[in-house]
Symmetry: C2
Subunit: 177 residues, 2 copies
């Protein structure tokens, strides 16, 4: 176990922070650790039909490029993971789900972050919104889940939560189709 001595410096945005800590390492020496303090997050695989899901194309500043992803976002203060998943689906795609189901909760980057992502599956979508959140989303796409799996076989999907969501659904046999 590593033990914090003190926090040397902190960076902050509205939604999360990064800290540089001085710590006592396992061998008794002193070292430095960067840790991201991040709220939990929710991601959602939205089934438009038994075969097709909604995905968003989005420019990711920290990653430096555009990615194809399932909708996701940070959980607000006091918000429940399932409420966050529904809200993000609405904001990013204009759709509201009937039923949603928790698929898995996992930690994407344990080396430098305390983030946990809860992945949900959404079914029985209703289109309510007229537009998508253009501050975040470049385009909204309807893609057969079979094609997403083909993209994965070709190494074309890079986003961890999207990969994990599709593979976990396949592994647990929880797909609608």
């Amino acid at each position: 176990m590593e033990k914090k001595i003190h926090t040397i410096a902190t960076l902050e945005t509205n939604s999360f922070s990064a800290h540089l800590d001085e710590v006592i390492l396992r061998d008794g020496n002193v070292g430095k650790r960067i840790r991201i303090r991040h709220p939990e997050a929710a991601a959602i695989i939205p089934f438009l039909s038994e075969t097709d899901i909604l995905m968003v194309r989005q420019f990711r500043y920290a990653f430096g490029r555009e990615t194809l992803e399932i909708p996701a976002g940070k959980i607000g203060r006091g918000e429940r993971p399932d409420a966050c998943a529904r809200r993000e689906l609405m904001e990013e795609t204009g759709h509201s789900p009937g039923a949603i189901e928790l698929l898995y909760s996992y930690a994407p980057a344990i080396g430098y972050s305390d983030e946990i992502i809860h992945i949900f599956i959404a079914r029985e979508l209703t289109r309510l919104g007229t537009g998508i959140d253009e501050r975040e989303i470049t385009s909204l796409e309807t893609i057969p889940i079979r094609d997403v799996k083909e993209m994965i076989k070709k190494g074309l999907i890079q986003d961890g939560k999207t990969l994990l969501a599709v593979l976990m659904m396949d592994f647990l046999g929880t797909e609608p189709a």
Copy 2:
């Protein structure tokens, strides 16, 4: 696309850094973004036999708890991903692989990091080392891959790269057994 105006502040350790940038958002407003600049990393699923893999138990400071993981680590300057995977396997488990094979490369945390993790499968292990790196590793465990999958079904594995490695192997049908 979001465009950097300037970096306000930076945190640094020996191996990576965190930056607070002021950026122009897609709607023309100015905002702040935290980004981790991280070297690429390699993770490796080490098959000790056709049925059993080696895993490490490790305290993760940023995540604040101990996790059960496959061996992994950051790629050194000028090091190739496969060389890094072999080195980390040796350092963390004392084993050297005969053959190793790239399974997938993915981005674990596109919201705030540029990290890419290359996941390898290792076979034909030879035990060379006498000890494990006790600064990092709490214990080294030999676990049937079938048991790892059962743990996943029960939601007991939290580490993203370990989940993705096991599920991807299952999905692509690349297991030795």
